[in-house]
Amino acid sequence: MDSPSIATTPHELGSSGLPHAHDHPAFMRHHFEDIGQQREAASFGMWVFLLTEIMFFGGLFCAYLIFRNWYHPAFVAGSNTLDITLGTTNTAVLIGSSFTMAMAVYSAEMRRKGQLVLFLVLTILLGGVFLGIKAVEYHQKYVDHHIPGMNFSIQEFVHPTNPKAIPLAPDMAEKTQLYFFLYFAMTGMHALHMIIGIGLLLFMVARASRGAYTAGHVIPVENFGLYWHFVDIVWIFLFPLLYLISRYR
């Protein structure tokens, strides 16, 4: 039963230095049977990972829903201080970046190297614009003393300067801190995902310009596309929950 003849046969695995004498593309990993299996595994793995991401954000959404129900007036008041123009612009920018990312995947499938690099760079630019606008908004919050744990003041909610705003009692105004904390935690976690995404995009631009993804090895671009769209979708939920719901009519 012990078969040393099998054990001493030269194997491809673990001997990457040896010349490849087999008929599969260079990007196929040796523990897969064929390229279809590799592709399916990678794509399925990405979907499972996105599932964990949903659960990760889920905790924050759960906290948001509970506190929104408890402290509805504070959440309305907090929501009204956000700049809806910047928020809408950012939503458009992010959807645009999802479009360029989808085009990048398409270009990789069509094996057009220059076009792939172009769309990846455009995605980076749009992602950068999103983060830039976000930074402007964060700075605005700092100026307004609306950053919990840093310089928070309830002044604006007890004695609003905006004539349309309804003044809050001081104890309810305190609860706007929770709104702003959730605002920063959720958009911050989202921005962190964007930053990681842009880092990965830079890496992919470098590899794409050397032709790594335009010779049939589309999986990384495709999977990154899934990630990028996921981050986009998170924002699609954040934007109405944080900016749009219960604005002054």
Binding site: S3, I6, L182
Partner: protein, 553 residues
């Protein structure tokens, strides 16, 4: 006593000339490996290391409780000791114990694949685990944390001056290690099965790990975000969990137990997975009710997500929701009982032999049954109010986690030791160790049921003198248990050099992993096998021709 062990002739037997152990040499070949078997070995060493630390801390707890007053250590030190014991044992030992070692080693072999789907992510998960482990060690060196392993808010966020954030970061990292392990298993089981390996031909070990992985990927991220919130609240003084700022400490409990209750099934399902294999092999029978056992694993994973509030019955949750959660909790007993009954039916009229893994498996069945049944006490609302936060709970979860999972882990390590190393462990001394472990366990933890029922609260360094006799029993039992755990740590390394050569299939078991050489080749199978029979088909094994052996490597 009869035995099924069949070893090759020791005078001529040799270890295979080439295997995953001698494919490459040097530290670098281990630290940068993508081979699931080597990563399993890395995990085996690391979790043993943390088990020893956690075990020493447990010893300190039992020593302190030998006498009624708090005399061995200051009470705040005692708090730190039991907190670190819990954190290390749960996050650094029990959660990765069977999945990351035995599961990592075996799942590709059992489904007939060359490796897990993502070898690099597998290695990454070990590094994340080590990163988390180092942070937890750093916490200890810096002065410890005294929140208990549950990080209860607002105690952990506002009232303690210990290293909560460091410990939380450690657990955060270890959590991602567990997520990546689960992700790898799920993708491997879905996409990497060899031709003919249908879902219902998978060994029950794989089904158990599939269910575990579902919990890992769905539960752990919630713990991660919760710990992030705790760390933010502590460092930035925000009030999500602080009632004085409008926050809700119960929200923390909900989020924490949403992971941490299913996590106890992360800690028991892989143990059950091991037991199914062991019971079948040593009673020479197909597991009775294969489908029921397979689906009961998945049912436990699903029900496991719907019962978390039973940790919170005394925390002022709504009575009506408590009623629902009480009922749901009892429902978990159904799939658990299905397993126990099916294992019993497998034993019935089987050709039972008593090798070491089987002894541990018997220990598992007995102790897990007691642990499970006392869980029904705690699921009952009225009883829970009396028993929660007492030693009854401590005894209950130690029966499940230590009596259950640790027994199963040792059963698995002994069962697959010949496959992992190519050599047998010494049978006589390991049987002794199994019996010592069982006796030590009973003497340690059974008195704690009585203590808890009489009202001794957990987490205190001192107790009334009336409770001393039972506590002395418990501490004495812990010493016996310590010897029981020390023995395998001595004779298993010994066997690496002096153990008998095991051959391919010392147990005459049916799994694919037993049809290849021990220790296996780096690529597992020289040719991908074709599965043409059901799992646990001992007739197939008996009629198997030499040729068929060759085709599976």
């Amino acid at each position: 006593m009869s035995t099924i062990v069949s070893l090759p002739d020791q005078s001529t037997a040799k270890l295979p000339a080439k295997s995953y152990l001698n494919q490459e040499y040097g530290l670098k070949s281990w630290l940068l490996t993508g081979d699931h078997k080597r990563i399993a070995m890395l995990y085996l060493f690391s979790i043993t290391f943390f088990f020893v630390i956690g075990g020493v801390l447990a010893g300190l707890i039992r020593l302190e409780l030998l006498t009624p007053p708090a005399d061995l250590m200051a009470t705040d030190t005692y708090n730190k000791v039991f907190s670190m014991h819990g954190i290390i044992m749960i996050f650094l030992f029990l959660v990765p114990s069977v999945p990351a070692t035995i599961g990592n080693f075996l799942i590709p072999l059992m489904v007939g694949a060359r490796d897990l789907a993502f070898p690099k992510i597998n290695l990454l998960s070990w590094y994340l685990y080590m990163g988390g482990g180092l942070l937890v060690l750093a916490t200890m060196v810096l002065g410890g944390v005294d929140t208990g392993w549950t990080f209860t808010t607002p105690l952990s966020t506002h009232y303690l001056n210990t290293h909560v954030v460091t410990a939380a970061m450690g657990i955060f990292l270890a959590g991602f290690s567990s997520i990546f392990t689960g992700l790898n298993f799920i993708v491997t089981i879905h996409r990497m099965r060899c031709p003919g390996m249908t879902w219902f031909r998978l060994p029950l070990f794989v089904w158990g790990h599939y269910a575990t992985s579902i919990i890992m990927i769905l539960g752990t991220p919630v713990l991660a975000i919760t710990l992030v919130l705790v760390a933010l609240e502590r460092t930035m003084n925000i009030g999500v969990f602080d009632p004085s700022k409008g926050g809700d400490p119960l929200l923390f409990q909900h989020l924490f137990w949403f992971y941490s209750h299913p996590a106890v099934y992360i800690m028991i399902l892989p143990g059950m997975a091991v037991i199914s294999e062991v019971i079948s092999t040593f009673s020479r029978k197909r597991v009775f009710g294969y489908t029921a056992v397979a689906f009961s694993s998945v049912a436990i994973a699903v029900f496991g997500f719907l019962v978390w509030e039973h940790h919170m019955f005394i925390m002022g949750v709504s009575q009506y929701s408590a009623l629902v959660f009480s009922l749901l909790t009892m429902l978990v007993a159904v799939p658990s009982a299905i397993k126990i009954f099916n294992w019993s039916m497998t034993l019935y009229k089987g050709s039972i032999t008593f090798e070491t893994p089987m002894l541990y498996a018997f220990g598992f069945i007995g102790l897990f049954t007691i642990g499970g049944l006392t869980g029904i006490f705690l699921a009952t609302l009225g009883m829970d109010v009396h028993l929660t936060e007492t030693y009854f709970i401590v005894a209950h979860f130690h029966f499940v986690m230590v009596g259950g999972m640790l027994m199963a882990y040792l059963a698995g390590v002994h069962f697959w030791w010949p496959k992992m190393t190519g050599r047998m462990y010494p049978e006589a001394i390991s049987k002794t160790a199994a019996v010592i472990t069982f006796i030590g366990f009973i003497v340690t933890f059974f008195p704690q049921f009585i203590l808890g029922y009489l009202g001794m609260p957990r987490r205190y360094a001192a107790y009334p003198a009336d409770f001393q006799v039972l506590n002395v029993f418990s501490t004495a039992g812990a010493s016996i248990l310590g010897i029981g755990y020390l023995l395998p740590m001595l004779y298993l390394p010994w066997s690496l050099k002096y153990g008998e050569i095991a051959g391919d299939n010392p147990w005459q078991a049916t799994g694919l992993e037993w049809q290849i050489q021990s220790p296996p080749l780096t690529e597992n199978f020289s040719e991908i096998p074709i599965m043409d029979h059901e799992a646990y088909d001992y007739e197939w094994l008996a009629n198997k021709t030499h040729h068929e052996v060759q085709t599976v490597g």
